[in-house]
Point group: C2
Chain length 250, copies 2
């Protein structure tokens, strides 16, 4: 613990208490749709931040669930692994997104969450969130929307895994990354991937070699440029057509 002289000044305290209020992610994250007073209440609940170094775990499968995490900065993956060693990446998570929703059901984490770059997350004690959401209907409602959105996202991935070919999967993946980056103010056509080919492959139900080949093919067709982890999308429209035209003719 720090000595008292190192406690935050009043200004710092104000910043802490209103961490959600002043957070640049306010419009992306849990506080969406709340008024200033409600955001302050939420901000008191969300008082702890946690740094997660690249490669280290935010949480592990089987550990007790106590809090959701909102990504404040950085990039993480979640993955489940079977007894037999098979691993499945279930998601990649950017700023403003919530982790831990799967753990509510059993109060145990059902997946590992691992930082793919140095990251910072806000800890949201779940019991407290439920408590204050009783008095802030719009918070409760938005939380339900977030959970629902995760279900919709998963259904989209099921569709992808169930009926798309390798190139379609990768195109869908790239466009998804592009869109999410654009929402956050980054370039939609020029970005660096944080994950390896193997992690992309696990997410897309493909082997890393197949991912690599699909990248090369899209590059040969001049739709994108690939330089290791750096991606440049030359033709967004054409990339979109790659998403869903495998079995048009039927």
């Amino acid at each position: 613990m720090l000595p008292e002289s190192f406690l935050p000044t009043n200004l710092d305290v104000a910043q802490l208490r209103s961490s959600c209020a002043t957070c640049s992610l306010r419009e992306l994250c849990l506080p969406v749709g709340l008024n200033d007073q409600e955001v302050d209440i939420l901000g008191e609940v969300v008082s702890y931040k946690r740094k997660v170094k690249r490669g280290s775990y935010l949480h592990r499968t089987g550990t007790k669930f106590q809090a959701l995490y909102a990504v404040k900065s950085g990039f993480l993956k979640t993955c489940i692994l079977e007894e037999d060693g098979r691993q499945q990446v279930t998601g990649f998570h950017m700023t403003g997104e919530l982790l831990g929703l799967d753990a509510i059901s059993t109060e145990l984490h059902t997946c590992d969450a691992i930082a793919l770059e140095d990251s910072e997350v806000c800890e949201i004690p779940f019991a407290k969130l439920e408590e204050i959401s009783r008095t802030i209907p719009s918070l409760m409602h938005h939380f339900h929307k977030i959970m629902s959105r995760e279900i919709v996202r998963d259904h989209g991935v099921m569709m992808l895994l169930g009926s798309m070919k390798a190139e379609e999967r990768l195109a869908t993946f790239l466009l998804n990354m592009s869109r999410r980056l654009a929402i956050r103010g980054y370039s939609e056509s020029n970005f660096n991937l944080r994950m390896t080919r193997e992690e992309i492959g696990s997410y897309l139900g493909l082997k890393l070699e197949t991912v690599s080949r699909a990248f090369s093919k899209l590059q040969d067709e001049a739709v994108i440029s690939v330089n290791n982890k750096h991606i440049q999308i030359h033709d967004l429209q054409r990339l979109k057509t790659k998403m869903g035209n495998s079995s048009c003719a039927t």
Copy 2:
């Protein structure tokens, strides 16, 4: 509207008002963990039932979301379809399970729900559910668990679609059906499937012919018997070993 003389008698009113209280699915459905008084409150919100004939829609993609549905009897599938005609079954739903969770996010249904046999569902107006869950914390909490469980289930399907071979997928599917039927008091080793090979295939990311072949293979190995839609599981243990032993040796 019915004339007053057709309003329910007192006895009927009592049965209606306590529909959740007397429902045989009380321990499987939304009221889990509620005391009698709370179940009564919930029962007032869940006052409408709807019959859905085999083959007809409970809801369609794109229509306005107003209520969740709890399956009271019967069996339904949910599926999404892309512009290009590709279809993906996202789930099969038995008694006590909740439909419509995906629609909360956009207030539009993101999938079709179709009855695979004559079914009956309880309509749960979502706004009212949120309203009463403010005063019944255990209801709110259980609802969150249900949504979370759906996310976990979807992640399991992603794992299945992403890394299992045809025979493993089918074994996983059969064991899932078996377990869910057992919970509901039916035989775990002797049941009728309600869906076609094509629907199973869509759910499992396989073509119907591949599903049929996988059935035949399991039958040749004397693990199950297949007679069209009737399934008999002879060796549950051996079926379980089929779930996850494709790439053990690595």
